[in-house]
């Protein structure tokens, strides 16, 4: 990955898909003196499924938080559909079509299931908002019967569904997910991964999937990045990373 393949090169007759829908250029971020992201660059093609892997503390969460403006970038740029969103406040970033399901889901347990979902679509003032609600409900049958219950009554898997559903309510172009498999049974994890793939196929969603579960994430995505101590240590097609023993042993631990 280098800067030459990023926007700028896209103008000369290449197909529109050649320009990544989400481009991260030399992004760095710190917590005080601790540098958590160091010159990270990524390019995620439209309707791509992309995994971001790495050990605890590698910087995965910091990366997603910096992308949506929850954490300040100290240098570098984030481009969404070619537009610089690096310094936008989070609530503006969301309205540009970048959704973020944070670590743990960020479901609001004091609100009902329905309120959580509606919240995700409030900023859209268009009339389609109620169609979206029904569509999202259709995706997650377990949520339908719990519609009027507070989210505190949901299981871990149902919370993750609700979190994803809330993000989808804003009809995003790109969905960032931070360890959706955390604490879930393998079967539920598999369902969620399958859902992500379906969403891409059906509504053309682009997905960036941060995972500790490297094997699972690589088997569902097309491209993967491996972070190590805040830098990209390896990247490539997911099946390649899966087959590459050196990367697997060094960074992915399986």
């Amino acid at each position: 990955m280098n800067a030459q393949t990023l926007p700028g090169a896209a103008g000369n007759g290449a197909s529109p898909d050649a320009e990544p829908i989400l481009a991260v250029e030399n992004l760095s971020a710190s917590y005080g003196a601790v540098r958590a992201l160091d010159n990270v660059s990524l390019a995620v093609p439209a309707q791509g499924l992309c995994a971001v892997l790495g050990a605890n503390g590698a910087g995965k969460t910091t990366l997603l938080r910096t992308l949506t403006g929850l954490h300040r970038a100290s240098s570098g740029r984030v481009l969404l559909e070619g537009e610089d969103i690096t310094r936008l406040p989070t609530e503006k970033v969301i309205t540009r079509g970048l959704a973020h399901v944070p670590e743990g889901g960020g479901v609001i347990v004091e609100l009902t299931v329905e309120e959580n979902l509606r919240l995700g679509g409030l900023w859209r003032s268009d009339r389609r908002s109620s169609t979206t609600f029904d569509e999202v409900m259709d995706l997650f049958p377990p949520l339908v019967e719990r519609r009027t219950k507070t989210a505190s009554t949901l299981s871990g898997g149902e919370r993750q569904m609700l979190a994803i559903g809330r993000a989808l309510m804003g009809r995003p172009r790109v969905l960032l997910l931070d360890e959706p498999s955390l604490g879930l049974a393998p079967l539920v994890t598999k369902q969620i991964f399958t859902l992500l793939r379906d969403l891409r196929d059906r509504i053309g969603l682009t997905v960036v999937l941060v995972e500790q579960n490297a094997a699972g994430a690589l088997s569902v995505t097309e491209h993967g990045y491996v972070l190590n101590q805040g830098s990209v240590a390896a990247e490539g097609p997911s099946d390649g990373l899966l087959a590459d023993d050196r990367t697997r042993h060094a960074y992915l631990g399986f």
Partner: protein, 283 residues
């Protein structure tokens, strides 16, 4: 029996003002985990504004409207310009600043309007054992509580405000302008505080007129659980009732102690307040 009913109605009427003040504290506490000690000062500014407007125009209701508007605007201003920049450094500093603001505003009101008492009229006649003014207090606070409930529960703005209060980051990730919601919350809270002032102020106002009322208001908020609007209303009415019964049956000199007794009793049985749901907060 008649006497008991009278005491009950009077208790509810004075409790209504405590309930309104408690409500104004709880709205802000819920959103920012901060006890707004400046609330009586904002009510003071609102009530003195009403006083002046009524003097100039001769209309009580213009004054009333001016009080609520002042509460709304000054509350929003205080959050945006004074509290927010300081809360960024530390929550404790912000609380202390609200306390300081109380003293500053009381001093300023004394300088502008004088420290002596001014006569301040009731909305309606206060004669009778359950006077029109008493009825107005209860109805006004009841209506405000219902409107507030409707706002929070059924409107998009209310949903945004609750989301911002419970989980600012998740709210932001849902496109909510969390800062704006805080400002709105302070405005609404201070509007309700101004209403409390309009009810508790008469027959005389002075820069310290709300000191005692504020103590009862904060007591009511604590009794209700500090982050539960319903609890605040019930707490306010409970304290109004308790004080009315004790001063009617035992003696007025014990009325203030009653408020303290209610706090001690309620908190020893339910440490998190009458209606609190301690488990929901843990997550």
């Amino acid at each position: 029996m008649n006497y008991f009913i009278t005491l009950t109605l009077n208790g509810l009427a004075s409790g209504a003002a405590y309930a309104a003040l408690a409500l104004s504290l709880v709205i802000i506490y819920q959103a920012t985990r901060l006890v707004n000690f400046a609330q009586p000062a904002l009510a003071l500014l609102s009530v003195y504004t009403a006083y002046t407007v009524t003097q100039l125009t001769g209309s009580y209701w213009l004054g009333f409207a001016a009080a609520l508007t002042t509460g709304l605007l000054v509350g929003a201003f205080v959050e945006r310009v004074i509290v927010r920049p300081i809360a960024r450094t530390s929550q404790l500093n912000a609380i202390i600043v609200t306390l300081g603001l109380l003293l500053v505003v009381q001093g300023a009101v004394g300088m502008i309007w004088g420290n002596e008492q001014h006569g301040f009229r009731y909305a309606f006649s206060y004669v009778g054992r359950f006077s029109p003014a008493d009825v107005f207090s209860l109805v006004a606070v009841g209506v405000v509580a219902l409107l507030l409930f409707g706002l929070y529960r059924f409107t998009p703005l209310g949903l945004r405000m609750r989301a911002a209060a419970f989980h600012p980051e998740a709210a932001r990730l849902s496109g909510v302008k969390v800062g704006l919601m805080l400002t709105a919350g302070w405005g609404i809270a201070s509007l309700i505080g101004a209403l409390a002032g309009m009810l508790a102020g008469p027959p005389f106002i002075s820069p310290n007129v709300f000191d005692v009322v504020f103590v009862f208001g904060i007591t009511a908020a604590v009794v209700g659980g500090l982050d539960n609007p319903f609890g605040a209303v019930i707490g306010g009415l409970l304290i109004g009732l308790g004080m009315s019964y004790v001063s009617g049956f035992v003696g007025p000199e014990l009325a203030t102690l009653t408020a303290l007794a209610i706090v001690v009793i309620v908190l020893s049985v339910r440490p998190d307040g009458i209606l609190s749901r301690p488990t929901a907060r843990k997550v």
